[in-house]
């Protein structure tokens, strides 16, 4: 958390700079390669594996708002609708054969039963004519069939292994979520903090997709030891994803 004065000082540069820079053509889409598999990270925070027609998203945290409300913090009840709308956009763009949600898809297991009727319907619509896999997460170890799809502990496909929580020392090819990576990027006269895909060519940790899912800095100790020297995050911009080198990354 940055203090108010620092944030304020910052916007003279960061904000001012971003706000006045005119529209620029989006750079060509950056592809990442994990143990040979070609993957496309999208600015929405999803990962598209064209060879398998597979769309991967992590940490949707559906019904986080109502989970908090249940405990007395009345967060705006619009998070699930918003996350679903964004998910619908990427599904529409890629028309995947299979969608894999990498765990913590619901903020708590029971939450799957709390979906408002319109949201349950929307989700069912997205699941029609395609495979839908819920990987179990620590927030939602079992959904109990309340949200369609198939529940799995992990999924193997070709060279890749899809799990919720990245495992220290896991074999190459692990695609995980759980950690909600974000990173601060410094540029000329300013900096921004954004969600990112953390990857080093051998494994990847996806950004959280949910509207209320916060972030954890790539430099937090939770990431220590997961990535090798080739760590190069793909940072989510407004309309594009950018691969950023080490020199421009900051802890916070």
């Amino acid at each position: 958390m940055r203090d108010m004065a620092a944030a304020f000082d910052g916007f003279g540069f960061a904000g001012g700079f971003a706000a006045v820079a005119g529209p620029r053509p989006a750079p060509p889409e950056a592809e990442m390669r994990i143990v040979g598999a070609e993957l496309l990270p999208t600015p929405d925070g999803a990962l598209w594996w064209a060879a398998e027609r597979m769309l991967v998203v992590a940490d949707l945290h559906f019904e986080k708002g109502s989970t908090f409300a249940r405990r007395g913090q009345m967060l705006p009840p619009y998070d699930t609708g918003e996350t679903l709308a964004r998910l619908a956009r990427v599904v529409e763009r890629f028309a995947p054969r299979v969608v894999v949600a990498l765990g913590d898809s619901f903020h708590e297991s029971e939450a799957a039963g709390r979906l408002l009727p319109q949201h349950a319907e929307m989700l069912a619509g997205l699941q029609r004519r395609r495979e839908w896999i819920w990987i179990a997460g620590n927030h939602d170890p079992e959904i109990g069939g309340r949200a369609g799809g198939v529940e799995m502990a992990e999924l193997r496909a070709g060279p890749l292994r899809f799990v919720h929580e990245p495992l220290m020392g896991a074999p190459d090819g692990e695609i995980a979520g759980h950690l909600h990576p974000v990173v601060r990027v410094v540029g000329r006269g300013g900096s921004v903090r954004r969600r990112c895909f953390a990857q080093d060519g051998r494994r990847a940790v996806l950004p959280a997709f949910g509207a209320y899912a916060g972030g954890l800095s790539l430099f937090h100790r939770a990431f220590a030891g997961l990535f090798g020297a080739e760590l190069k995050p793909f940072v989510m911009g407004r309309d594009a994803v950018y691969a950023i080198g080490r020199a421009n990354l900051r802890a916070d």
Binding site: A6, F8, G15, M74
Partner: protein
């Protein structure tokens, strides 16, 4: 009056205890007059005036300079009343006098001061403090067995009121004393306290308030704050501009709260328009049955006072109201020392209280006013240093030798600085050059309470020669024999300066001695202006503004926690509080709805409601956990997450050992920027960061003396409007420059030669090329906040004019924008003209468009969300680091803005941002002021006046020693350019 206590209404019967006759009372009981004369004192007129007013049930604002015996004046009525309690009779249950101070330390200090007369007169009075530092067992005991006098803080009052024993604690409350009232009323803390006062009145309708204040610009605001305001017809139904009021869209150039109802023209000046009944918060029958109320022609409305000797009766006539002398003439007569108006004996023995509130032209009820003029003029000087005063920067490093010398020449000095990091730095540097080892200590808000107490005790014992401190010592604290105040950096406001200088020589008749130490050249001008202001007795405290809706939401939950409430009762109660006087019904409905379920259009949280209506229509807390949540989140001071700093030793293999001393707390964001081994300055020592263990920062002592310095959000004040005006006047008048140090006068002369100096009402705008860019530097002197807003709006316009702005920088004094396009040429060609660029209409669409994407509203929203209870500050058993706790308010803001932009919290956020961070009102006033008075100077190079702001460019993103060199080189280049 024999005894205040005997006139108290008995709760058990609800009947006043009446006496057959009211003999004219001696103003001061013998025990007290004896005490005064034994010490060779005579009671001062204002002390007696307060006693007389309180005895007659009149609330009073006392405005007096430091050293006037303000504290004793405030406590005297209570002490007299408590001393008169008959012996042998069981004392009434609960607290008799509540004293509220903005600072913990002040409450503790005042307790010490009041204990002395209590002990010396052997008064049967139990007096205790209660702050966030009070141990739990003592707090529990205070609730079970409350003292006669409780000295505490606004947050503690809110907590006590929300507890189930509130009724018992406060039913017999007689007096509430608000210390340093001027510093409280214009903040959200003041809003919370005003609501608390409304509730205290409900428990004890006859309580008397006493406000103690330094001189303020608008005493009537404070007087109105102290007394219950009449509840007006809320007009919440069918108000034609309802739709407009609830739109979150910024209204052009306006910082006022959108819910402030427009008053009908005919009502203006008519004053209080309702009979007194509706102002009785405990009289819910009257309040409900009477709606809408007929207008009442009499602007003097009797308060209900059971401190007044005649008690409270039914019926009677109010003919006596009008012969009360007007408040103004009364206070004048007091100030002149001509007699004390004693109303007590004049009232009819039975009948309505013969008391009336004075009113003001806005129809507000006011308390009495007692005004004490003056005291000896302080002797203030601007530091006369042999050293050159720097162009920019805030460390005042050049002056450390002079400061130490001044300390050596006085008994006891206070060195005031504006931020905690400055305090740390100066403290360390003074010790570095402190060859004769003068005992110098450090005192600021993030030090451990134990350490602060130690410093305070050493001060009181006269064991110190100087204390380096921040605003924690600003307010009314009177320790030891301070004979010099040194203010480092610009004071930022004339009132603040007066307050600080008041610390020296706490005796009315001796002049205070003070030295101002400007840190850079603009600050020299500011110090000069502040100095003139202090001599003139000028004041620049901000006016009271409408209360925050987030604070109101917190209060509503607190009240539900205390006991079930009905909507109408609480609505009437909160509107007796001045900041919420104009609250309309629909807004209050939305606030209550927000507290219950979040108040969203998508009503999916009904089953999780935090407060629910029972079958009698009363709102009550849904479950005990909600009450617990409230208690953990009470208050309005939002701080960055703090971590304890624990100093340990290293083991032989360089691993920090367990144990060690906690030095204080530090903001988490700062620690996150450190790597193990990095050094930082804290509690006056250079520490090496070892890591974070169990949510504590582990640090070790180090020999390194070039630390990174902690940066704190706290302690930054914008330049006040009043001082800004003074600075502009000084610039415009070369005849005054001889009063400035030579370095500064030369600088201004050079500016006159190279460019020009603006007249008092002019705005100077300079343009010049440098490198491959052109620069626009404007000098509005309106404070950093307004300049930042202006900078953002200007860059948007310059972008539209295809001048390709690249960024801007704002200080308290000036604003610099740099572009790739040629601004000077554009102005000359009239594309746009400089007048067009600064046109006031930028506060319309540009502002709205910018805010929509600005980071700023998110920061503001965070505070609003925390205060209103939307998100929790901390949950029991969930003490993770700040970042992982609960949910990111930035994300919540984004979602809420997209889905329900007119939600009540969005409205509260906008109001806060407009009046606070954006300073839109001030910017708007400035744009109107300079319209048609803008002077454009097209220069071929940087001007001397522009140097400080140019040096600020890029400052924020630079850190570390190596890059400091780069900056220094660059800075010297700029200066040479200006001087050549």
């Amino acid at each position: 009056m024999k005894a205040i206590a005997t006139t108290r209404r008995r709760k058990a019967t609800g009947l006043p205890q009446r006496r057959a006759e009211a003999p004219p009372p001696p103003i001061l009981p013998e025990r007290f007059s004896g005490w005064f004369s034994a010490r060779g004192w005579t009671p001062r007129p204002h002390q007696l005036a307060l006693l007389a007013n309180a005895t007659a049930g009149r609330s009073t604002l006392l405005i007096a300079p430091t050293g006037a015996g303000k504290t004793l004046a405030g406590f005297l009525p209570s002490l007299v009343s408590l001393a008169a309690r008959p012996a042998g009779v069981p004392r009434p249950e609960g607290i008799h006098t509540l004293y509220v101070s903005p600072l913990k330390a002040l409450a503790i200090d005042i307790a010490r001061n009041v204990e002395r007369p209590v002990a010396e007169m052997k008064l049967p009075v139990r007096l205790e403090t209660r702050t966030g530092d009070t141990p739990q067992h003592k707090r529990t005991r205070q609730r079970l067995d409350p003292p006669d006098m409780l000295l505490t803080t606004p947050e503690q009052v809110a907590l006590l009121l929300a507890s189930s024993v509130a009724e018992r604690l406060f039913a017999n409350l007689r007096v509430v004393i608000f210390d340093e009232l001027h510093s409280l009323v214009t903040s959200k803390r003041g809003d919370l306290l005003a609501l608390a006062l409304a509730r205290l009145r409900r428990h004890a309708p006859g309580l008397v308030t006493i406000g103690l204040s330094a001189t303020v610009a608008q005493p009537d605001d404070l007087r109105a704050w102290l007394v219950p305001q009449a509840v007006r017809d809320d007009g919440g139904d069918g108000n034609p501009d309802d739709a407009d009021r609830h739109s979150p869209t910024p209204r052009r150039g306006e910082g006022s709260a959108p819910w402030r109802a427009e008053r009908a023209p005919g009502e203006e000046g008519e004053g209080v328009s309702e009979p007194a009944d509706s102002a009785r918060p405990d009289d819910s029958e009257g309040a409900q049955a009477g709606r809408p109320k007929p207008h009442h022609p009499d602007r003097r409305v009797p308060p209900r006072s059971d401190l007044s000797p005649q008690g409270r009766g039914e019926g009677g006539d109010d003919a006596d109201f009008d012969d009360a002398p007007s408040s103004k003439s009364r206070s004048k007569s007091l100030a002149a020392g001509r007699g004390i108006p004693v109303r007590a004996g004049l009232a009819p023995a039975a009948g309505l209280p013969a008391l009336a509130y004075p009113g003001d032209e806005r129809g507000r009820r006011l308390s009495e006013l007692v005004l004490v003029e003056g005291g000896a003029k302080p002797e203030i000087a601007i530091l006369d240093s042999e050293e050159r005063i720097p162009w920019a920067g805030h460390t005042a490093r050049y002056a450390y030798g002079d400061i130490l010398k001044a300390i050596g020449e006085h008994r006891m000095s206070l060195v005031f600085v504006n931020t905690r990091s400055q305090a740390e730095l100066i403290f360390q540097e003074l010790w570095r050059i402190n060859a004769s080892s003068l005992p110098i200590a450090l005192h600021h808000g993030s030090l451990d309470a134990g350490q602060r107490r130690k410093v305070e005790a050493a001060m009181a014992a006269g064991a110190l020669r100087a204390v380096v401190c921040t605003s924690t010592l600003d307010l009314g604290i009177d320790w030891g024999d301070v004979d010099l105040v040194i203010n480092v950096g610009a004071p930022k406001g004339a009132s603040r300066l007066a307050q600080r200088i008041g610390r020296a020589n706490h005796r009315l008749d001796e002049p205070s001695q003070a030295i101002l130490v400007p840190a850079n050249r603009f600050e020299v001008l500011e110090c000069r202006a502040a100095l003139d202001a202090n001599y003139l007795g000028a004041q620049d405290t901000p006016p009271v503004r409408p209360g925050g809706l987030d604070v109101l939401a917190q209060h509503v939950l607190g009240m539900a926690t205390a006991a079930p409430f009905t909507f109408e009762e609480l609505f009437d109660e909160v509107r007796t509080a001045l900041p919420y006087q104009d609250l309309d019904r629909e807004t209050f409905e939305r606030v209550v709805d927000f507290v219950a379920t979040g108040g969203y259009a998508l009503r999916s949280y009904e089953r999780y409601a935090r407060i629910q209506k029972d079958k009698d229509g009363r709102w009550r807390v849904a479950n005990p956990r909600i009450a617990q949540q409230y208690r953990l989140n009470v208050g309005t001071i939002i701080e960055a997450p703090l971590l304890n700093v624990r100093m340990t030793r290293m083991s032989r293999n360089a691993v920090p050992l367990r144990g060690g001393r906690v030095l204080g707390k530090i903001e988490e964001y700062f620690i996150e920027t450190l790597a193990p081994g990095d050094t930082f300055l804290f509690a006056g020592q250079v520490l090496a960061f070892g890591g974070i263990r169990d949510n504590e920062v582990i640090a070790t002592r180090t020999k390194d003396d070039t630390p990174k310095i902690p940066i704190y959000a706290g302690g930054k004040f914008p330049l006040t409007t009043y001082l800004a005006k003074g600075v502009r006047a000084l610039l415009a008048d070369p005849g005054e420059w001889h009063r400035l140090p030579d370095t500064v006068a030369d600088w201004l002369r050079l500016q006159q030669e190279r460019s020009m100096l603006p007249g008092t009402d002019q705005l100077l705008v300079e343009t010049f090329p440098r490198g491959n860019r052109t620069y626009l530097v404007a000098y509005p002197f309106e404070g950093r906040l307004a300049h930042q807003t202006l900078g953002m709006l200007l860059t948007r316009r310059l972008e539209r004019a295809h001048l390709r702005p690249m960024g801007y920088v704002a200080s308290d004094y000036a604003l610099g924008v740099w572009c790739l396009g040629d601004i000077g040429a554009a102005f000359s060609a009239g594309r746009p003209t400089v007048e067009e660029l600064f046109d006031r209409d930028m506060l319309g669409d540009d502002l709205e468009a910018w805010l929509a994407e600005s980071y700023l509203l998110k920061r503001t929203f965070r505070n609003t969300a925390l205060i209103s209870g939307l998100v929790e500050r901390r949950s029991p058993g969930q003490e993770k680091s700040g970042r992982q706790v609960t949910v990111s308010t930035d994300l919540v803001y984004d979602v809420l803005r997209r889905h329900e932009p007119d939600h009540i919290l969005m409205r509260a956020t906008w109001t806060d941002a407009a009046s606070g961070l954006l300073d839109i009102r001030r910017l708007s006033d400035m744009l109107s002021r300079i319209s048609g008075r803008i002077v454009h100077k097209k220069l071929d190079r940087i001007s001397p006046l522009a140097v400080p702001v140019m040096l600020d460019i890029g400052k924020e993103s630079v850190g570390g020693e190596a890059r400091e060199d780069i900056l220094r080189d660059a800075a010297e280049g700029i200066i040479r350019e200006a001087m050549e």
